[in-house]
Symmetry: C2
Subunit: 328 residues, 2 copies
Amino acid sequence: MAEVSTKPEYLLGVDLGGTKILAGVFTRSLECVATAKLSTKPQRGVEAVIERVARCAKDAVDEAELTMAQLAGLGVGAPGAVDFESGKVIFAPNLPGWKDVPFRTSLEKQLGIPVFVENDCNVATLGVYVAELKSKPRSMAGIFVGTGIGGGIIINNEPYSGFSHTAGEVGHMTLSVNGPKCGCGNKGCFEALASRTAIFQQIKAGIKEGQKTLLTDILGDDLEDLRSGDLRKAIRRGDKFVERIVNDAAQFIGIGTATIVNLLNPEIVVLGGGVIEALQDEIMSEILDTVKDHAMPGSLKGVEIRASKLGDNAGITGGAVLARREVK
Amino acid sequence: MAEVSTKPEYLLGVDLGGTKILAGVFTRSLECVATAKLSTKPQRGVEAVIERVARCAKDAVDEAELTMAQLAGLGVGAPGAVDFESGKVIFAPNLPGWKDVPFRTSLEKQLGIPVFVENDCNVATLGVYVAELKSKPRSMAGIFVGTGIGGGIIINNEPYSGFSHTAGEVGHMTLSVNGPKCGCGNKGCFEALASRTAIFQQIKAGIKEGQKTLLTDILGDDLEDLRSGDLRKAIRRGDKFVERIVNDAAQFIGIGTATIVNLLNPEIVVLGGGVIEALQDEIMSEILDTVKDHAMPGSLKGVEIRASKLGDNAGITGGAVLARREVK
């Protein structure tokens, strides 16, 4: 339980995803003292989602037995293109209606504390870099495999966001020029080959073609509540069909990682996101083998590639780091 | 003609390629006062190539009516992995026998001036950045399409070489996972799809299958002396077969460029190398259209993509820049 104090010495981090909202209260030394979770319900529209983000943040503060006055600021990661200066979400492919949304202003009005908005994968990368790696490596790439695939880059110990603040968009690297159609309109993007969405689509297509899988035993024929964790269960019980599809995705994650290693030669690559967290034991060795096959000689020398230890908390931790950096 | 002076106020730049060696003498303000050219003849072995590099450098100095004592230093780009500190070429895929070659020491012995060795594409990127762009953009990516495909990166106004000095290896990004075999052992690398080598292979394969082309009228059935410039001639005379193959390569150059834009969001991307120089008028618009199709929304905002104006001289210019940076 937090000490009784009204000084704004705590930080809020929020991770807004297409499916769920996570909020966490952190001390200034980035210890997580409470979390809260809500479903996003994006179909209810922009205003409703913002209200849910604010509610989730308040829930976490209440969970920590604090009041909002004790919070110095909120850092929030949004799943799309963000204008950091204005705090606007320019667009968010998985959130219907999110175009030029004044996310920062709306949240500040509802919460009464300073809010800082960034792209979710940049925020998660910052969280891993500062909280997990203690800001030690000079360069890092973060690759987050979940509903979509995104990334973040650290260069010279600082987040690198490029000329128009869009760097790190790893999900739309073309890996298979004649591959499956991607939501972005192109074919064979990393995201269309290895995200949870891509994996689920392949499983559903297989079932339609008469493929037998333990998943339908667990979840019923429509697989309505399918989650990454179900894939793990099916593989552990010997489901070769699911294993093959997940293995293919792991190979693409390895190829995507190798492309980043070849291009950026970062000191460390950290993999995160729901797919990595749920299937880490099943896929990390395949990923690493594929990276070794596809990275150029010398480019892996001394380079570490690992799954994040923060798991699902990378985003909220990064939000707290962002707030700590920005709060005056 | 250069002024008579024995002060070491000039700089040498050398570009060692798999086919030819180029050398240039530059003033400290990077004006090129003389060049020389020799074929590489890599099959004659490591010592012979180093002797030819030294000879080519001496030829350029003689051409400028200078003596070696008037040269402050030599910067040389080598086509492979280089250890900058020791000046060793660790390996060079297109130069047989080049493994752990003490290139710097050998050249310093033969020329009597300080020598600095770097990867050829890093050197060419530096040349374009400093001489053509006047070091103005904060970030830049250079993509050089020739015998192979390589690249270089500038971040925060400085060359970025990554953790183990291998960054910028754009040629081995996987763009087509089931594509043609690459020299690196993988399939569908950028280099295996769009380099001059890849284009020539496709043309030769087409001819074997009975495809008619003006190239055999120009060069004979074996296409022994085929160069990028011949492709331009054939296309301009209406050779649809060559046009299609070159157009496919242009699309892959566009996809590769878009991947770099998505990942790094640099302020400017400069394309160079023999294929770009020879076919610029034929391929740049296809390249730009493909980049637009494959780059994420927002990531091209304000970003310039252009062919280098330095052409074949990017490497020697970069060598001179490197020497100017490093000479004490």
